[in-house]
């Protein structure tokens, strides 16, 4: 289920603009990796390149290698649709499908590609996924109600349930708590801790305490100036990054001297 990711010499472009340059990173299975850095440093762009969501934007492309268990995601015969089925993503703002009920939202990914699923299996999967996202007890009586009627934090957990329902190898999270209140944030953080047992998780966050709380390893991205590409400045165990970083820039950022 959970897989290892090796990123080798990855450059990411938006048309002619080089947004991220030369990333080298190894992400271990069943771990939480946090990506931090100032706005515009390319951490979200890098995250989106890990499941080929980056190229959804017209003109965007990558150069380099992203190996997942020895297979290059950017290889010639790799279908981006297949990549996204294996590597799920949770976005900054909760985005359940407004026209679907809670249960339909959970099953949205499973029902793609005309896959048929038995009613009993579907019910089981809905319950399992919602339990997995710590949402079952709150919504079990209203599974046929629209997902957009839930609170922001519940909607985000619904999106996580939808993502894990397709049993991905990796779950990417792009600032999943930035639109949520502290209580909901705590619920998501607890959930990340539990999901770690089964999935490889990569999370982009602006909240450094959050990175320190949830992650095993942390990567710090930075840019040298406006219009310059973002780079991975330092990547190490979270404890090391927050207590005794090798790079001056990392220390400045962590201690709040800029960013």
């Amino acid at each position: 289920m959970s897989k290892r990711i090796d990123v080798h010499d990855l450059d990411i472009y938006y048309g002619k603009f080089k947004a991220v340059q030369g990333v080298e990173m190894t992400i271990e299975p069943r771990s939480v990796t946090a990506l931090i850095g100032p706005s515009g440093c390319g951490k979200s762009t890098f995250l989106r390149s890990l499941n080929r969501m980056h190229e959804v934007i017209p003109g965007a492309y990558c150069e380099g290698e992203v190996m997942v268990d020895g297979v290059n995601l950017y290889g010639k015969n790799v279908d981006p649709v297949g990549v996204r089925r294996k590597i799920g993503m949770v976005f900054q703002r909760p985005n359940p499908f407004p026209t679907m009920s809670i249960a339909e939202n959970v099953l949205a990914g499973v029902k793609l590609n005309n896959q048929r699923i038995k009613k009993s299996d579907a019910d089981e999967l809905v319950e399992k996924s919602l339990r997995g996202a710590n949402l079952w007890n709150e919504v079990k009586d209203r599974l046929d109600k629209p997902g957009s009627g839930l609170s922001g934090g519940q909607q985000q957990r619904l999106c996580i349930a939808r993502t894990i329902a397709v049993k991905p190898d990796v779950v990417l999270m792009d600032e999943p708590c930035s639109a949520l209140d502290p209580i909901s944030t705590l619920a998501i953080e607890d959930l990340i801790e539990e999901l770690k047992a089964d999935y490889t998780i990569v999370i982009v966050t602006h909240n450094m305490q959050q990175a320190a709380r949830v992650s095993d390893k942390t990567g710090f991205f930075n840019i040298t100036g406006i219009g310059k590409p973002g780079q991975l400045v330092e990547y190490d165990a979270t404890e090391k990054i927050f207590n005794n970083p090798n790079e001056k820039a990392t220390e400045d950022y962590i201690s709040g001297r800029f960013g």
């Binding site: 969501m53 297949g82 996204r84 949205a108 990914g109 793609l112 590609n113 957009s148 009627g149």
Partner: protein, 303 residues
Amino acid sequence: MRRPGDRIFSGLSTSAGIVILAALALVAIFLIIQAMPALLADPSEVRGGQGLFHYIGPLVFGTLLSAFIALLIATPLSIGIALFISHYAPRRLAAVLGYIIDLLAAVPSIIFGLWGAEVLAKGSVPLQEWLFENLGWIWLFSGEQATATGRSLLIVSTVLAIMILPIMTATNREVFLQTPSLHEEASLALGATRWEMIRQAVLPFGRSGIVSGMMLGLGRALGETMAVAIILSASGARYSWELLTSNSASTIAADIALNFPESSGISTNTLIASGLVLFLITLIVNMIARWIVSRRAEFSGAN
């Protein structure tokens, strides 16, 4: 204390709103007063000599039949074109295509009528005969004989479909473009292909817009006069499902246009009464549309 500018603007917009309502009411009152004599007259005096219901009924049928078939042709086409423009075509081609579709809306209906009668009808005679011979077992394509001139109700509906295509495509394109990228990305990130993404995120979001577009198109198709009158010059008032024969139904608007200049007395009142019926039909169509749009508001993208 409100500022003068505020007061003037609120007065202006309120009176504009009242003017619209007043115009609508005046039209309705005019229709009712002018139709009254035909409603009260002896059945033998009414056009056709067998009563109002007997005269207007088949025309209502023909109006609805031609408009619905036009809608049947135009809806999938307009959705397809709109999706191509919003989600498939390269940006520059999309702009050109959107512009051309909008131009289609600027063609006067009389031109569509002439083109339908002279070009489309004549040109499609072999196709219509083929339909008649091979698909004649479908009740819509059955009858005595396919018309030799090609000027059939099928051509009327086809021309109507082309005429309502621009407004429907424009509406659909607008709502498809407004699909929140949030939902499109949610779908793509689950491993949806582009078509699956469209079915999962774009079409559900655009459904109420599609229905509004259909109703706008239906409104135009119901009321279209010149194009129908030119193509179906030999009007007949009969209940007929036949689309290919000269024995087909006609529409209210075309019937009024063809017969009004030579009518007088109760005959004129009869035609106005049929106009009143058309007015009511479009009103009801619009109300149904509103109802459809609001019915699943809870699940719409608005909340």
